[in-house]
């Protein structure tokens, strides 16, 4: 469960999950939505896969990502999004799994 909390604590990963709610997407398609490097995106995908929230299906040379969230996990995603859970800088640095609640931001 800690892996799920850690995965949901990052806004980029939450955004990935929200994009995958609509349809399965290619890794490149998903990366186009974010202004981050490919290795960083790969790390985000790896964390989400490790938490069992997404599924990677290799088709030839491409990877298709699909949402693999239970109802409870999806409810938790919505909850995390609403409350704006985020890892603090210090926690990020030491790789802590503790999440901190932040006040709701408009358009977050």
């Amino acid at each position: 469960m800690n892996r799920v909390f850690k995965a949901l604590a990052d806004p980029t990963r939450r955004r990935v999950l929200q994009l995958l709610r609509d349809r399965p997407m290619l890794a490149g398609e998903l990366a186009d939505h974010f202004d981050v490097s490919k290795p960083t995106m790969s790390a985000h995908f790896a964390i989400l896969q490790d938490a069992g929230l997404i599924d990677a299906d290799k088709q030839g040379r491409t990877i298709v990502y699909r949402l693999k969230m239970s109802v409870l996990e999806e409810a938790l995603l919505q909850f995390a999004h609403t409350l704006g859970w985020e890892l603090t800088t210090a926690e990020r640095a030491r790789g802590s799994r503790v999440v901190k609640r932040r006040p709701l931001k408009s358009g977050a």
Partner: protein
Amino acid sequence: MISRSFAYIVAPLLLAAGIALSLASWYLEPGRRGVAAALLLLTVGMTAAFVFARRRAGRHPSRVAAGDDITKGITFVASTVVLALGGSLARTAGVVEDPDLARRVTMIAFGLFLFAIGNRLPKSLPPLSVLQCDGARLQAFQRLTGWTWALTGLSLVAVWAMLPIAAARPVSLMLIAAAMVIVAKRLLALRASHRLAA
């Protein structure tokens, strides 16, 4: 919902309790012998399935996963049987006075079972290579079905925990019927889209 090791420890205990309670019900509740016999058959059948699943599991990951699913399902059903028979026998023995307690507990367990099934449903993804329809549509169907059964299960728990028996029965039937209609309607739409695509 249930961890693997927990299910493997609890399942045989629940099955043994189910068989013992079915036999006790057969002797102590002559008016309910039909129910006791049916539950005894069910429990013996589940015991056979549990033993078979454990023997067949081996080391192959897919077989281990299938064995885990069977064991978790058996744990849920066996716990419902034990709760129902335990409640009924407790009333017969005069330990519990509420005549509806056994039925309430059974239906609450059934609601939890539906919730657990619905909760896990969106996680069971078939490989994209074997899909015969649009992956996005299938994903939407699985999510809707999962949410529908999970919410129906939770509603059943609330209904049987709070409403009087006379109201709980029709309300729960309506809830289950509504869930089935929603899922069936979406399934027909999925089939129609597959035919159009073909």
